[in-house]
Amino acid sequence: MTITANSFKTNYLPTWCPGCGDFGIWMALKNALAELGIGPDEALLIYGIGCHGNMSAWVRTYGVVGLHGRTLPMAQGAKLANHTVPVIVISGDGDGLGEGGNHFIHAAKRNPDITVLIHDNQVYALTTGQASPTAKQGFITKSTPDGVVDEPVNPLTLAIVSGATFVARGFAGDMPGLTKLIAQAVKHKGFAVVDILQPCVTFDHVHTYPWYRSRLYELSSGGYTPTNKLAAIKKALEWGDKIPVGIFYQELTSTNEDREPALTNGPLAGQTLGVADVDTLLSEFR
């Protein structure tokens, strides 16, 4: 059976607000899975809690909807238990960088072969629109009636300095581009972070589709090569009239799973349980 975007259909239709950027991410993700030939029972999708995570009801695969902020530890545990299954994390800027910020930097340093999509909408949308960690200064939200005063978290620089080996930014309004980016991220062997600019049409009337469209440019179009950390950080700091999208940094090195001796015999989940040589184990305690 060929896998198409339709293979992931469930009985539910999205309940996102009409025009929400999450639609674009949803379709790009299904397209990317279809393109890579990964079927519903072959992938494990791990969702955060937020509007983004509601996606679980309209994508049929193995899925985990865990706790707010805890997608990455869940993903790492699952991946170590069976590293033959592709693991994709659907997270939000609040989920992944607020509640889950510690896991983000520590996952990056371990380089598990996991893809993380961050629905970056600058708000805690599901809880009706408080500022998220990526909210830019001055942005007025329910929790910041006089505008955000903190420096925003930059998911890209944070990922790069923490050790992520694939760091990219996409746009929810560019489905073909995003499909390609997600497919590349999933194919990448290592910790792949895709920060996706996602307009929230309900709680953000500043960063709209036109706002982004008039600013975004594709990194590769300027001949940028994503191989140097410092250059990547420099690019990642650009935010204003021009905002780059594309792959900022990529590097191939051993993964968290490669580094576990137990996995050289195949997935943990498939191994015989128990201790083969009890005597040797016990002899230490005599």
Binding site: M1, T10, N11, Y12, G39, P40, D41, E42, A43, L44, I46, I49, N54, S56, A57, R60, T61, Y62, G63, V64, V65, G66, L67, R70, L72, P73, M74, A75, Q76, G77, A78, K79, L80, A81, N82, T84, V85, N102, H103, I105, H106, E260, P261, A262, L263, N265, L268, A269, Q271, L273, G274, V275, V278, D279, L281, L282, F285, R286
Partner: protein, 572 residues
């Protein structure tokens, strides 16, 4: 000739005190003696006072008692701090060059054996830190054991460091052995009676017992953030990861730990976490998740003195009620509480099976005293075959890939449905922290919600069917009954007088209420003995049976109960 000797070594932290205890203990356990060791140390790496007590006996025993036969004092503080453990006839081994002891400062009848530790070490070209090795030699001599008993252990201990180091240490130990000379012979009351080696024992601490139980029961993944008193479990797992083909991952925090373990369980491997109260506090949300998505998970919860950071290297049983009620929302859990290393091993094996049979989180509720003390465990117990039953798992090929798998079906009468693991053909479902339908799809429907709650809580009835009853010791017909749990059982057993009955609860939750009620019916005096300040077992018994226990012996200074303390209070 002695049937039982209690030996203690004390000194500044960082001077190999702990290792000495283990070496002495092993020198005797290898020959079939019954052994127990307890360490006492502050939450510091150095500079504080460390002590290890080793009891060696020719017959089984349950606990240490208050008085020492031999105290090896590597500094003066050792004698000061442990003065109340001395009694007539206690031998103090000390270095006369370190400090001078005036007899009148000591209780009467103490026997002082000066041994120039430092001088002997220096003579043999050793370092100050090797004084404990001299002391071990001296101790072996006093205990009347052949030097070879010690030499064997020293050899194994230093084998990794090469022949030269081994020989040097043996030489230094020998110097201590020889130093006592005639004095030892004079102390014939301290010479241990011989034992026919018929018992094949291993010397392990509680954490190692849990570790051995876990790997024998099929543990494949553990994510454990360092914390006293379960650090020895981390070492056990990290050291054996490669040889046993398991993954030990050090997470960034306890929250990551439990979520990693849940992720691994979802993907089909037996997994566990371990921590102490403060770390577990951070896992409470994850516990509720495990309850909701019905993931098998084993949690080794090593209690220590709270609240907050408390006294991290001391013992307490202060978290029972917390563990039973932890987590928002309502879901089943199982709580087991071993009393000693043998039970720790056995209940750990059981915990993994219960977790996969009922798809619930299972606690092994341990404590510092259990985890960090070394216990004798019969080899046959640890060697016994462990049959691994994975519980209900989806039958391969039974599902289509165009619909989802009913991971949470409403048909199973006991509330337990088959699991599928990512990658299994047609097994896709959502492990959903939201309330969900049979395939795990989110649902807020009123009827579905009610059914799903009923389905999860139904498992409690199924669990009750395999529940372990309380264990009764002593005079079965006695009307004086002591209830106790966990590692407090040892001192209680040691204190047990004739007509007393003791009830111990290796299985604490779901609470065996009917059995307990029956056991307590007719009792005229019921005493609750625990290592906490509020009597948490007594509260549990009242909550579950209505029976109020008013006589409670509670200790909460971080030091384990001594049989003498219990005996004194029972008398009243």
């Amino acid at each position: 000739m002695a049937q039982s000797i209690t030996w203690k070594i004390g000194g500044e932290a960082g001077f190999g005190i702990m290792a000495s205890g283990t070496m002495l203990a092993r020198a005797f356990s290898r020959h079939g003696y019954y052994i127990f060791t307890l360490n006492e140390y502050p939450s510091l790496i150095r500079g504080g006072h460390n002590a290890v007590t080793v009891r060696i006996a020719t017959a089984p025993f349950y606990s240490l008692d208050r008085s020492l036969h031999i105290l090896v004092a590597l500094n003066k503080e050792t004698v000061e701090l442990h003065k109340n453990e001395l009694r007539e006839g206690t031998v103090i081994v000390f270095d006369p060059h370190d400090y001078e002891w005036k007899e009148e400062e000591l209780p009467p009848g103490i026997i002082l054996i000066p041994v120039p530790f430092r001088e002997l070490v220096q003579k043999k070209g050793g370092e100050v830190i090797m004084r404990n090795t001299v002391a071990l030699g001296t101790s072996i001599a006093i205990l009347g054991a052949p030097f070879e008993c010690l030499a064997d252990v020293v050899r194994d201990q230093f084998a990794r460091k090469g022949e030269a180091v081994v020989n040097h240490n043996i030489e230094i130990a020998r110097a201590g052995y020889d130093a006592v000379g005639d004095a030892a012979t004079a102390l014939s009351a301290l010479r241990l009676d011989s034992i026919e080696k018929k018992n094949d024992y291993l010397l392990i601490n509680g954490s190692e017992a849990v570790g051995i139980g876990a790997v024998r029961a099929g543990l494949k993944f553990a994510a454990i953030y360092p914390m006293t008193p379960i650090n020895a479990l981390i070492s056990f797992l990290a050291d054996h990861a490669k040889s046993l083909g398991i993954v030990y991952k050090q997470p960034e925090d306890e929250i990551a730990g439990i979520n990693m373990a849940i992720g691994a369980a979802i993907s089909g491997v037996r997994s566990m976490v371990a921590t102490s109260g403060g770390g577990f506090a951070l896992m409470v949300e994850g516990l509720s998740l495990a309850g909701m998505i019905e993931v098998p998970l084993v949690i080794d919860m090593g209690m220590r003195v709270g609240p907050a950071t408390g006294m991290p290297t001391w013992t307490e049983q202060g978290d029972l009620q917390f563990i039973i009620h932890a987590g928002h929302g309502e879901f089943p859990r199982i709580v087991l509480a071993p009393a000693n290393a043998t039970e720790a091993y056995e209940l750990t094996v059981k915990a993994f099976h219960l977790a996969e049979e009922f798809h619930v989180p299972v606690f092994i509720l341990t404590d510092k005293y259990l985890n960090e003390s070394q216990w004798c465990v019969e080899a046959v117990v640890l060697e016994r075959d462990v049959v691994i039953n994975r519980g209900k798992v989806m039958t391969l090929g039974s599902e289509k890939s165009t619909t989802s798998f009913k991971r949470y079906d409403l048909i199973s009468p006991d509330g337990i449905s088959a699991r599928s693991f990512p990658g299994m053909k047609g097994g896709q479902y959502i492990a959903n922290s939201y309330e969900h339908d049979e395939t795990g799809m989110v649902s807020e429907d009123s009827a579905m919600r009610t059914k799903m709650v009923d389905r999860r809580l139904k498992k409690i009835a199924a669990i009750r069917k395999v529940m372990m009853p309380p264990v009764v010791y002593g005079d079965q017909s006695s009307k004086t009954v002591i209830v106790t749990w966990g590692s407090t059982l040892g001192p209680v057993l040691a204190a047990m007088k004739a007509n007393t009955r003791i009830i111990h609860f290796p299985w604490l939750y779901p609470f065996p209420a009917d059995a307990t009620k029956e056991l307590l019916t007719g009792a005229t005096r019921v005493i609750d003995i625990e290592q906490n300040a509020t009597g948490q077992l007594a509260s549990l018994i009242r909550a579950e049976t209505g029976i109020e226990i008013t006589e409670k012996f509670l200790k909460y200074d971080g030091r384990p109960w001594l049989p003498e303390e219990i005996i004194e209070r029972i008398k009243v």
